[in-house]
Symmetry: C2
């Protein structure tokens, strides 16, 4: 099983609310990860996606991408979210997909930091789109601990 395929099981086992949210690994191409979740279990009083579920999907998308890159590199991995800013730009009235991309330079910096220090700090942006328009803009600062 690939690390990406194992990720969904890891999320559902270790963070059980992700099962209730219906979170799935939608796509992974080594530098980009997409996580999805159906609207129905994550709906709010307005019939659109609950802001907490949108945030959870976004924060997990960044966390999971780092988890995969560290696992592929054979490194011990303990990734935590340290701080985040989130802007709600449009209501989401359909199933949600979060996208996170990391470039090779940021990855190289992270690996270099982990060689010389006991932790690396990494900013990651995640977006959830509604009909191709950004609906949630998430900027997180993650910490990777050795």
């Amino acid at each position: 099983m690939t690390h990406a395929a194992a990720l969904e099981q890891t999320l559902h086992r270790d963070i059980p609310i992700t099962r209730e949210m219906g979170i799935r690994v939608a796509a992974y191409d080594s530098n980009q990860l997409r996580l999805s979740a159906p609207l129905s279990p994550n709906v709010n009083d307005k019939g659109t996606a609950f802001g907490g579920s949108l945030y959870s999907l976004a924060v997990l998308c960044g966390w999971s991408l780092l988890h995969l890159k560290l696992k592929e590199a054979g490194l011990p991995h303990n990734v935590v979210i340290h701080e985040a800013n989130v802007r709600y730009l449009l209501p989401v009235s359909q199933d949600m997909t979060a996208e996170c991309r990391i470039d090779d330079e940021a990855l190289a910096q992270m690996f270099a930091a982990l060689e010389n220090h006991d932790r690396a700090r990494l900013p990651l942006d995640v977006v959830i789109r509604q009909n191709e328009h950004p609906a949630l803009a998430f900027s997180g600062r993650y910490v990777v601990l050795k």
Copy 2:
């Protein structure tokens, strides 16, 4: 039934993931609201509270306090979160309680804005403590639409 007692039913009915999270109304004293949730359904891979669940509890605490104040005032209420910043200060290894307080001046400004405009913007801070130390600091910007 008081508005505060009805709030828990409203949350569980209209935002169904709050049932799975086990969110309860813990206390309400007119200017302060506390929402709680057990650790178990909200746990992460480290045995502490999942950052997305901490955020969800916090964003709902602010949302719910505005919901109650508007309902008590007999005003139509449509509260949405517009933007938030969240800082994770300590891991939370026990049941979670979020606290949000609003002062009378901020409330008066909100009601005045709603008299003259179709919306009011309102910043609200929410904190989740672990053994009396702030573990999550949430600053949200909510919008109340008439």
